[in-house]
Amino acid sequence: MNGASPLLEIEDLSVVFHTRSGPVLANDGVSLTLRAGETLGIVGESGSGKSVFCRAILGLAKGEVRARRMAFDGRDIAAMSRSEKQALRGRGIAMVFQSPMSSLDPVWTIGDQLVETVRHHKGLDRAGARRAAIALLDRVGIQSAARRLDDYPHQWSGGMLQRAVIALALAGEPRLMLADEPTTALDVTIQDQILALLTELQRETGMALVLVSHDLGVIAETVDRVAVMYAGRIVETASVRHLFERPAHPYTVGLLGSMVGAAGQGERLRPIPGQPPDLHHLGTGCAFAPRCSRAGDDCHRAVPRIDPAAAHDAACLFPMEAER
């Protein structure tokens, strides 16, 4: 770690949904720092709190959000006024969603939506904004952008729409892009193209990128650093290489073991036994303990906190290798 102040600092973020059947702890003590231009992957299974985390950063989570510190570029997000938050969205932090088909308003053309967004961020006139919109579409790899600009979203394929959504996100020249499962709804050949595009744009613009996915393979080829989430908590952070070579948390090991391609040739996939925990009834201990073969009695009592500044750390009392 160098002395440069981080772009995003999250300390001890909790998000609680108050439901009829009691409180649900969707995020529990999540801490994370991200430097400018860094790429981070957040991996975890469905319901582990990845999307909630992204929305909480933008101030759009539905539940009750608490954090010791939530700062973007040194400024406290919680203390921002409504208009400052609106300015943060799009210009500071942009987000790309899972389903491109529903991320665009069906009643306006792609061009309308791009022009509206460019004008909102840059205050250009109509013709200037239209030129900027064409340039944006061009940049995300839409062929003959000028002609396709007046198409409605339903006339485009999923892959093209996701490119348009990325163009929209780029319109405000954000310093951080959150991509929440951006390729999950797309087929495999298109997935690679979108990931390559995100990587390329990240390098070109120098923005930071947070890629959220349930797919370790997607994460591995796109980012430098990974945070593994389980039941609303970050259980391990490491560089991609360290994570694959020396996973420390038993859950990470389980994830890797159940991943197609990571298991050696001819080896069987090893599913993680048991079910993800019910977030209504999380005890004080490690949420993975009931499914963990290494768990001891202490695991059911307390969870070790992860050090967000460490290069490689796991929230585990009995990590796989002690050479951290």
């Binding site: 933008l58 759009l60 609106q86 300015a87 943060l88 969205r89 799009g90 210009r91 942009a94 987000m95 969603f97 899972q98 389903s99 088909m101 529903s102 991320s103 665009l104 308003d105 069906p106 009643v107 306006w108 061009g111 509206e116 967004t117 909102h120 961020h121 109509r126 013709a127 239209r130 030129r131 064409i134 340039a135 061009d138 003959s144 952008a145 000028a146 002609r147 600009l149 007046d150 409605y152 979203p153 339903h154 959504v165 929209l168 996100a169 319109a171 405000g172």
Partner: protein, 295 residues
């Protein structure tokens, strides 16, 4: 730079004319047919003072109960008034009243419903409660009360309809908005930094107004029938003002010897209703097209 050069044609393409042409080109035959039919009826109503051969209220006792044909294209009634002229003039009243009775409550109904649907919670509960009371209130009782207070006529109908008819639109818009509100593009718009007002007005409303527009077309027909029906029982337009329903009522005593007095204004109602229904069907298909639904 090549991007900008290639873009020049695109920059010009945003013109309103081109957009309108593209819009019309995407219409189904049904929608085009309905639109043309309604336009013709509206044009005839608009041009009534020039097209109508006689004064619609002028009585001519030398030409009583003449059958259709000759100078009196649609024949004459029991006091010798020209039916064709009366049908034309009645179209002005029926169309404009039908339009106002439909679209005025639609505007505030959709706004109220969309807002309630987006906000939810207490706002929604209050609006829902008021709407339920308005829906439960029998319309005929309402109009009889209003007529008792201010006397029969078109104003009584306006007041009663404006008080009650918005609820249907509010319910439609509310239900649609609750669905739209949860969609990603609404969240995406917030992520892009747009204000709530802008999201509701620019991205919410256009997405929820569709079902109300489709419903408005049948509501339009119903409102013309309502106006005709109320005039028929004497609560609406008062004679001698020409109105389709009132004309049908006037002809009912002569239905056996002079069928044309009631039938031809009735035909005008049917024709207008058909045009509006075609438009309603076409619009429904048009909206599902835009959402990528089955054609």
């Amino acid at each position: 730079m090549s991007t900008v050069a290639a873009g020049e044609e695109g920059v010009m393409a945003a013109g309103l004319g081109r957009r309108l042409a593209r819009e019309v080109a995407s219409w189904s035959v049904t929608l085009k047919l309905g639109a043309v039919l309604l336009a013709l009826i509206a044009l005839a109503a608009l041009m009534a003072p020039w097209i109508a051969p006689f004064d619609p209220e002028a009585q001519d006792y030398d030409a009583i109960l003449l059958p259709p044909g000759g100078v009196h294209l649609f024949g004459t009634d029991n006091v010798g008034r020209d039916i064709f002229s009366r049908v034309l003039y009645a179209a002005r009243l029926d169309l404009s009243a039908g339009f106002a009775l439909t679209f005025v409550p639609m505007i505030y109904g959709v706004l109220i419903g969309a807002y309630a649907g987006y906000r939810g919670g207490l706002v929604d509960a209050v609006v829902g409660g008021i709407a339920n009371v308005a829906i439960a209130f029998p319309f005929l009782v309402m109009i009889v009360v209003v007529v008792a207070v201010i006397g029969p006529g078109i104003d009584a109908i306006y007041i009663s309809v404006f008080l009650l008819a918005w609820t249907m639109y509010a319910r439609l818009a509310r239900a649609d908005m609750m669905v739209e509100r949860a969609k990603d593009y609404m969240l995406a718009a917030r992520v892009l930094g747009f204000s709530t007002k802008r999201i509701v007005l620019r991205h919410g409303l256009p997405n929820v107004v569709g079902s109300s527009l489709v419903f408005a077309m049948s509501d339009f027909v119903l409102n013309i029938l309502l106006l005709s029906g109320l005039s028929f029982i004497g609560l609406g337009i008062q004679p001698p003002t020409p109105e389709w329903g009132a004309m049908i009522a006037e002809g009912k005593e002569f239905i056996l010897e002079a069928w044309w007095i009631s039938t031809l204004p009735g035909l005008a109602v049917v024709l207008t209703g058909t045009a509006l229904s075609l438009i309603g069907d076409g619009l429904a298909r048009r909206f599902s097209d835009r959402h990528g639904g089955p054609a």
